[in-house]
């Protein structure tokens, strides 16, 4: 009979519950939200099967490779890469199993975004199986199901965290040729309770129910570790490694991982699974061939069976064999458990029910105390910033004068304000207002720092020009905010916000450009017809424009009065838009027509 003296000795794999012939084992959540077996003494016959199957109590040896073959790999389908956490390796491995008419098992989100293990032979389920979930997944009943399928002669691929894979090997008791075990490189599993609390906080913050969430959405790049949320009201929200309290608590503080993860028994080599997959974080330090920030998978092939299977999958991958050491250096978690960085873990869980998620995290995320190195880094950054000002202004007296006059020393110390390039002319009326909450670089010249290219900015009487985040506008631009009008650039939020050469913005009423909008060469945005009038029904000389978050305006497109461009929409080169463009829609032509819907793209 299993007897857990110390929480660290139970990895929560659920295998004991499945093996018990009397159904005497149930799982009960503790106050941290992790489940542990509870034994009904009246039913227990002391057969000790639960101890035999426990991967912590009775670890099993294997004859897998001490030094696995290591690959960097990316799925050849860009659609798969967008839908995956890393390079789409799980999809490639699963597809091969579906082609054999086999079954694929792994973790899926339930309706309440808790995580369970699930198995089927329907390729449609791949959408739910792929992507990491970062959570403890409930595998009750899963082991039995896998065994039953194998006994029926079916082929099966199972993906899970290393402790689950060890558990399945113990549960089956023998090897099956038809079984492929795939493990993900695991840092630790987080508390399902903390995860739910985080989701509740997000739902409250955005005022709508979450209908789907994606871990490591690629839209702002793989390395940004973006959590994407889609809400019932149709809106979307993103939380990146810099902004997400949950990701920070997980990765930098290891605050709410399962106790057993701090003393994980499933580290080092040989690995228990046939194939190990994960993120190849360190590849770019050695090799630049996959460097597009879309995600690269690391693949460790641990057994002859895994090798044969991977051979079959290879044709759908772009791959490269690499030294194992490269992979290990970027994934130290292959060899070492996470450490308890914070000594306040117990206190955190005691207060978990008492405080809202953000208050809690503010209190328990490690304060970033500044070391000497940090101070040095800040000093270097300041110096670089000064050099940047020199580079942009080319020390032209007018550019320097305008930079200091309109930014002010105080803002520039905070690395905010406006930096004017050489040949930039600013005309700001006395009652015109400018506000810079980020760094606005106007008239940058890129490859040709000494080129003539003029940049113009006019702010009329009672007009308002606001830049709320970092933004760069290249030279040859003409930005005019007429009297009483308002132009707002939100600048960069999660990604970047740059306008290439030749931008024209003519603002007669109100133009709002939301965060992370990308602007190509010679784009024109105008909300005014410049005091021309027509006898057309409903005609107005100005109509406000709103350009949605992370929209992409391609070369020489024209955004006309009244245009409302949706989030992540793409306006094709030389198109003319004067109506609404829906979220995630690609439009092109004059007048712009829909070319493709539901487009996902990475900036």
């Amino acid at each position: 009979m299993i007897n857990i003296q110390k929480k660290e000795n139970c990895c929560g794999c659920n295998a004991c519950g499945d093996v018990c012939p009397k159904g005497a084992i149930t799982f009960v959540n503790d106050q941290e939200g992790f489940w542990y077996p509870q034994i009904n003494q009246e039913l227990c016959i002391d057969c000790k099967l639960c101890e035999t199957v426990c991967p912590v109590v009775s670890p099993r040896d294997n004859d897998h490779y001490e030094k696995p073959k290591c690959y960097a790999a990316v799925h050849k389908s860009i659609d798969v890469v967008f839908s995956s956490t890393s390079g789409g390796l799980f999809t490639a491995l699963a597809e091969a199993m579906y082609r054999r008419n086999g079954y694929v098992g792994g973790a899926i989100h339930n309706d309440d975004f808790s995580v369970s293990h699930f198995i089927s032979n329907d390729k449609e389920d791949l959408k739910r199986l792929r992507r990491s979930k970062d959570l403890q997944s409930n595998a009750e009943g899963f082991y039995k199901k896998v065994k039953q399928l194998l006994e029926e002669g079916k082929s099966v691929l199972v993906c899970g965290v290393p402790c689950q894979i060890s558990a399945i090997r113990s549960f089956l008791g023998r090897d099956y040729d038809r079984l492929i075990l795939v493990e993900v490189i695991c840092l630790g599993v987080n508390s399902p309770k903390v995860w739910r609390k985080y989701l509740d906080y997000i739902e409250e913050k955005y005022g709508s129910k979450i209908i789907s969430t994606e871990n490591k959405s690629k839209e702002y790049g793989w390395r940004n570790l973006t959590q994407k949320f889609v809400f019932e009201d149709g809106n979307e929200a993103f939380d990146t490694r810099d902004t997400s309290l949950f990701t920070n608590g997980f990765i930098s503080t290891h605050l709410y991982c399962r106790p057993s993860c701090y003393e994980c028994k499933f580290k080092g080599f040989p690995r228990n699974a046939d194939i190990t997959i994960g993120d190849y974080w360190s590849l770019n330090e050695h090799d630049q061939s996959f460097n597009n920030d879309m995600g690269i998978s690391v693949v460790l092939v641990n057994s002859p069976k895994g090798e044969a299977y991977f051979e079959e999958v290879k044709k759908r991958l772009t791959y490269k064999e690499t030294p194992l050491e490269w992979a290990v250096s970027g994934n130290p978690t292959l060899n070492e458990s996470i450490t308890r960085i914070s000594d306040k873990r117990d206190e955190f869980f005691k207060n978990l029910d008492k405080y809202p998620f953000d208050t809690l995290m503010e209190r328990y995320l490690l304060p970033k105390s500044k070391t000497f190195k940090d101070h040095l880094r800040i000093a270097v950054r300041r110096l670089k910033f000064c050099k940047y000002i020199v580079n942009v202004t080319r020390l032209s007296p007018r550019a320097l004068y305008q930079t200091f006059r309109y930014s002010g020393i105080r803002l520039l110390i905070e690395q905010k304000g406006i930096i004017c390039g050489k040949n930039t002319i600013l005309r700001v009326a006395k009652s015109g207002r400018m506000q810079f909450d980020g760094l606005f670089v106007l008239g940058k010249k890129g490859l040709f720092p000494n080129a003539a290219g003029e940049s113009l900015l006019f702010v009329g009487n009672n007009a308002s020009f606001k830049v709320l985040g970092d933004m760069t506008v290249d030279c040859d631009c003409d930005i005019e905010v007429f009297d009483n009008a308002e132009l707002i650039f939100h600048g960069a939020k999660y990604g970047v916000c740059n306008a290439n050469k030749g931008l024209t913005v003519i603002c007669g009423e109100k133009i709002e450009v939301l965060p992370d909008v990308g602007i190509g060469r010679n784009v024109t945005i105008r909300d005014t017809n410049g005091n021309h009038y027509m006898n057309t029904l409903g005609y107005r000389t100005t109509r406000p424009i709103r350009i949605g978050e992370k929209a992409w305006l391609c070369e020489a497109c024209t955004i006309m009065p009244g245009a409302k461009i949706g989030r992540s929409a793409i306006v094709g080169a030389h198109s003319v838009v004067s109506a609404a463009v829906a979220d995630h829609t690609l439009v092109a032509g004059s007048p712009a027509a829909v070319v493709e819907k539901n487009v996902i793209w990475k900036c």
Partner: protein
């Protein structure tokens, strides 16, 4: 429909001079584009009477994946 007939139809549809077999990577065929994906769906319906939804071939990598999509929907 045989593999040979399918490959012949695909070559005609793409108007390519390249040698194509089931193992060919779609991105290695110069004439293959998002537009040809649409043309392929039309061809499947007109020539073989098989209706395939765009999402079914969204993740296609090899010529084989297109052939499989036709086979799968033909049975259904």
């Amino acid at each position: 429909m045989t593999k040979e007939a399918f490959l012949e139809d695909l070559i005609t549809m793409l108007d390519t001079k390249q040698n194509i077999d089931l193992e060919t990577d779609l991105l290695d065929i110069e004439e293959w584009s998002s537009l040809s994906a649409m043309t392929f769906l039309e061809m499947a319906e007109e020539k073989y009477g098989v209706k395939i939804e765009p999402f079914e071939i969204a993740e296609a990598v090899l010529v084989e994946d297109l052939f499989d999509a036709i086979q799968r929907n033909n049975k259904a």
